[in-house]
């Protein structure tokens, strides 16, 4: 069904980060928002994406924000980098979703929901570095990879999962030796993302805990945040609730803290 060659083929087709993006990220890396905005302006799709993203209600801006310089100015360096990485992830998304009942708007909403709550978590944990903040942008890549690899086998997957409790991540691992999060790591490598981002994403799978306790803690929070988000009706209806297995035991020690932060009752 899916072989190592299928995966190699998929990874080889991922384009490197476009020049304008690389330049934007370079300037953000040294904290130069003006030059970053100028570089970002060269990419019309990025401009458009940023406008759509930051004007979503969850970002809470009272007035419409249109200029990239304005957007970067409001977001600051860290959140601007996160937004650019979010845009890079969307470059992988299909024009038409088959496996999941997603569309462009819903996918952008998912990115926004995850990003804003991740920021809330990092503020709670007193973590300010921009690589950790940006790590969340790679998480939805696991959904895109699932879609890309399994979309033509939707009926088979549905039948298989109607007789046996198995998630997409496990199917992929058993067939190829690699899981969705390994593929996210490969994507991060191709886009020259910071190694810390890959490590957090791996831990957030819930099945590959990190030996670095700080990374592992972030992985737990991200894993729990993913399932908190995927428990919302719009994502359940998009059939995202069980695409990977929720590792309840893995997050048990941070659950109370999480539920207080998110005001769950």
């Amino acid at each position: 069904m899916i072989t190592k060659e299928t995966i190699d083929n998929f990874i080889s087709k991922i384009p490197p980060a476009p020049h304008a993006l690389k330049e934007t990220l370079l300037h953000l890396n040294v904290g130069d928002l003006t030059k970053a905005a100028k570089a970002a302006s060269q990419d019309k799709a990025l401009n458009n994406y940023l406008k759509v993203l930051v004007n979503k209600p969850i970002y809470g801006f009272r007035n419409q924000v249109n200029e990239v310089s304005q957007i970067f100015g409001i977001l600051g360096v860290n959140k601007s980098q996160q937004a650019v990485y979010n845009y890079m992830t969307t470059l992988l998304s299909p024009s038409k979703w088959t496996l999941f009942k997603l569309n462009r708007v819903l996918f952008y909403n998912l990115q926004a929901d995850l990003s804003m709550n991740w920021q809330k978590i990092l503020t709670h944990l007193n973590i300010e570095d921009k690589e950790t903040l940006s790590a969340i942008s790679l998480l939805p890549a696991s959904i895109i990879v699932s879609e890309a690899l399994f979309c033509e086998r939707k009926k088979d997957i549905d039948i298989l999962r109607s007789v046996h409790p198995i998630d997409l991540n496990t199917i992929l691992k058993r067939l190829t030796g690699l899981d969705l999060f390994d593929l996210c790591e490969q994507i991060a490598g191709k886009w020259e993302m910071n190694e810390k981002i890959s490590q957090i994403i791996q831990a957030s799978s819930g099945t590959n805990p990190s030996s670095d306790s700080d990374i592992d803690t972030l992985g737990k929070w991200m894993h729990l945040l993913l399932f908190y988000t995927l428990s919302q009706p719009q994502y359940i209806e998009a059939e995202l609730n069980d695409f990977i297995n929720f590792q309840v035991e893995y997050v048990s020690d941070i659950y109370e803290d999480f539920s207080q932060l998110m005001e769950i009752s």
């Binding site: 298989l160 007789v163 919302q232 719009q234």
Partner: protein, 464 residues
Amino acid sequence: MRAILKNGVAVFTPQGFLDGSSGNALLSIDDIEGTVQQNADMVLVSLKKVIFFNRNGLDSFVKMFTKVRATNHCTVGFCDLDTKKYNAITKFYKNDLAFSIFQTQEIATLFAASYKNQNKNVLLYNEDKSQRAAMAIELHDNGHNPIVAQTKKEFQEKIAVENAYDIIIQDTYLGQMGQKVATRVTGNAIIYTISSFLDAEIGNTFNIAYHNNSLNVGFRLFIFDAYKVISMNIHALNFFSKLATAGAEYNAAICFVGISFDKTPKEFKETLEDSGIMFFEQMDDILQNKKLLEELGASSAANIKEKRAINKTTITKLPNFIEATVGTIEMMTNSKAMKEAVVINKITIDQKEGKIASSIGFYGDMDGMVILVFPTGIAKKACELLIGEETDDSELILDTLAELVNIVGGKVKTLLGDIHISVDITLPRTYQNIDSLLEIVQDKKGVQVDLAFNDDKFLFFLTR
């Protein structure tokens, strides 16, 4: 959301956070009813992967449970929970607990009438005396050996003894239990379990469509496990008489096992005998008597006379069946299939050693049976995807093979559905050696397709 159905227990497994809005998005009444149609005795929602729930979240399921139970008579409830979750649910529904709660799926299975692996030593405790009694009775009725701890202290003392019990039950509550007539397949016979007082309700709780379809796909022996029947009235008598008469057209045999007529008029037994129903004291009187099984139609010898030939309608749809089978095995083994030969004849298996087989029937707009003969190597490889590791445990391989054949059957159903042919599938059957398969099919004519998966020979046989 899809449920996984095994041993008569269908389980939905939502993940994450469960509140009023997510509950309604996770599960619909159609999801549950669709599952019940597949002959589930129990429909449960697993809370194993739910980290948070509130009353509103549970309510959305409970409302559906109530509705489904009223129309379909199956057991409904929750499973896979720890003491904290159990206490929360019993607190939420203190005076209105009509559904069941099972600490684990394994425990739920003990209470499912379709479960065949009986005789477990079961230690149980519930602080409510009537619950302890109800559980003990149900377990005993299902062929287990319940040991009841009367106090928490006694329970703790008993569980401290290592390996004394097969299963320990706590944090479990029996709500209204299912009243469906449970069904299971043993060898070539279909066994229905009936209990208590039989009246006109049997017409609702017995799945007549399933029974008729079983007749259509070639089952000829139907056994009613009636050890737990206390009595029957004239309505039930009429029901069984009609069932026997209808079965006679197919030369089918209907037997009652274990029924006592202490509280039922003796003439009822004569009426049933007149309509062709036979009575036995023990299940083994039938199942362990090979000669009797042959006489009752549960073997090839008796079945040959009634076999229907493979027909043009079925043969023209052969590509769909092959696609379903090849697609599934390729998916499960990550190997490529090569078609080697296609013949219409009786099944021919050159090398019987090192092979296992399975079959699944289909019925509806067309009917028939798909038989798959696997070299053990392919079977083991296909099972690896499902169980995640290599295994030589033959029972586990056969169990997993049944799941695999279920996948093939499901795919056949989907592919035929795409061309507007509606079929349903029966329970899968597995055969641990080729001789047991040949007892059923050696004289049937069908289409045999020999396939090779990476040099392993694989046989597909389509018959009626």
